[in-house]
Symmetry: C2
Subunit: 336 residues, 2 copies
């Protein structure tokens, strides 16, 4: 099954890269294939690799990365303590995307879809498996119409899976994509979920050796097939959703001051990814390929000491919306 | 005693700012006074504040920060686990400096000198006290003559304290200012030390409730007065040392390509400070003032995917020297 999932993720990477190249019109992705080598304990098996694709200096995208990876090995002490992972061996595969556009009127977007298996280190039996994922949008300037469209697309995808999931995963994204030290959300959020483990298959008995730790977010309401279909749908939602928002805004004119604001917002993106992002932590702690992990970094960013936007400016309006629990589905409520 | 130390640190901030303004010639520091407010457990006392001074868009310095702070409160769970601090209440005071110059031929420099007291939360008796500090230099292009000068200045300061200290604290800096995921030192290092606790005063009995944890680096070879004199000397070493290196290089011409390299090196500085730096962690975990903690961020930085310098270029030569255990005191050895 893990080969099937990993193969599907590679196909998703291909489709998304093709869509983004058509959207960009100018540049193509360049691919780096890499293999993971790990100095692990004697007898343990670790390895895997991935394909990192980067498009730079495009017409739409200043820097965009679409990465596939499939890695396996031992869950080390740091992964256990910093990422609340159980003891054992792991297999992890997924697709990660971060796009930094040229225009301050086109948002930064991020998506990740991933699948984990955990094995008993002695028997190599699968003791747990889960899916995770999320999409979130970081506009430099929040446009409420686009925000509504974006959240509606995610809600549609969620609704076909579980009618309660959009509200739950939207809240999860608000909590997860939160820059605690700035008391700001990273952008307008989106959805986020982790450790969605399937119902035990009929007749099967999936044994969890570390139940209290890993079952925190595992409701086990859905079958493997249902969760997997949801993750696939989410993956396919990405390209058309971003294309719509990018096409609508890419030709809007912008000023030097707006470009400067974009650079300042990018510095918040850097702070989030280096301080809080679990994917970055997982990558660095599991000795992943640094350039692939940090492809999420913007091509340029700026920090200004104690910058305060002007009163009633577009910049201030955006900052005021970078809060948890804003319902972007109903713009009329926000404008009040 | 803590008032005396804190007052001396404020004087050091004044002197360094004055020296740097004279050096810059164009701009002056602007000061933000701030007070720390903390939502702490009922009955516990927390507070303090500081003075953050920033000089921006100068003739020499694109952005320079010189910060003084004196804060106190309860050592929370995060500080205990992430910073290996003991249980109890704390008082912390210090001066922190990070300077980002305009020219790629002038290095980034950092200094921190600090003093901690730890109290029994019930009796408020002092159960431990220690000094920490360090200076390290991050040239965008390593100049071996400057590197030798810099390390010699630090060695002189160390030698007047303890003949073994330079070698020990130089190695500590190599280990501390290390960007693990890049397998690069942040720059040419310098010195770093932490938890230098004094010998118990004659007749006194300083009780350590958490001995095994906090005494890791405490040799207790020196009296309070000796350590304090060393920390003061180090503080006074900063301005003339940087002035010498800055004056020597500030008027060298530079190319677009060299400026670009500076931006890439600054992104490594960002990575180090947000992922590893203990001062940044302490600040964020103790609910410090965000703008003061992150004054170390460069005004601009760039990330390029998988950038590799040209063979035998100045950029490559610098990268090849970003390693631990290079003896910059003896340049002739390095050039071989």
């Amino acid at each position: 099954m893990k080969e099937h999932i990993s193969t599907w993720f590679q196909g998703l990477q291909d489709r998304i890269c093709l869509s983004l190249e058509q959207l960009d019109t100018k540049e193509k992705f360049k691919e780096d294939k890499w293999e993971r080598t790990v100095n692990s304990a004697a007898g343990s098996v670790a390895g895997g690799g991935g394909k990192t694709r980067i498009l730079q200096n495009g017409a739409l995208l200043e820097k965009g990365g679409v990465a596939f990876s499939a890695v396996f090995g031992e869950i080390n002490q740091n992964m256990q303590s910093k990422l609340q992972m159980p003891q054992g061996d792991f297999f992890a595969t997924g697709v990660s995307i971060v796009l930094h556009p040229n225009s301050p009127h086109v948002p930064i977007i991020h998506m990740n879809v991933r699948y984990f298996e955990i094995y008993d280190p002695k028997t190599q039996q699968t003791i747990n498996q889960w899916f995770g994922g999320g999409i979130d949008l970081t506009p430099h300037y929040i446009n409420l119409e686009d925000a509504q469209f974006f959240h509606q697309q995610l809600k549609n995808t969620c609704d076909s899976y579980d009618s309660e999931s959009y509200v739950k995963y939207k809240k999860w994204a608000d909590d997860y994509f939160y820059i605690k030290h700035r008391q700001e959300t990273r952008g307008i959020g989106g959805i986020f979920f982790d450790r969605l483990s399937p119902l035990a298959p009929k007749g099967g008995t999936m044994q969890n050796t570390n139940q209290e730790n890993i079952s925190k977010n595992q409701e086990k309401k859905h079958t493997f097939e249902e969760i997997w279909a949801f993750v696939q749908n989410l993956g396919e939602t990405f390209a058309p959703t971003y294309a719509h928002i990018a096409q609508k805004n890419r030709h809007l004119p912008f000023t030097e001051q707006e470009k400067r604001w974009q650079m300042l917002r990018r510095s918040r993106y850097v702070e989030y990814n280096l301080i809080y992002d679990a994917g970055t932590k997982f990558g660095l702690e599991s000795d992943g390929r640094v350039e692939s992990i940090l492809m999420s970094m913007p091509p340029q960013a700026q920090w200004a000491y104690d910058f305060k936007p002007q009163k009633d400016s577009q910049e201030e309006k955006t900052l005021n919306l970078l809060k948890k629990d804003v319902n972007f589905l109903v713009c009329s409520e926000i404008v009040k």
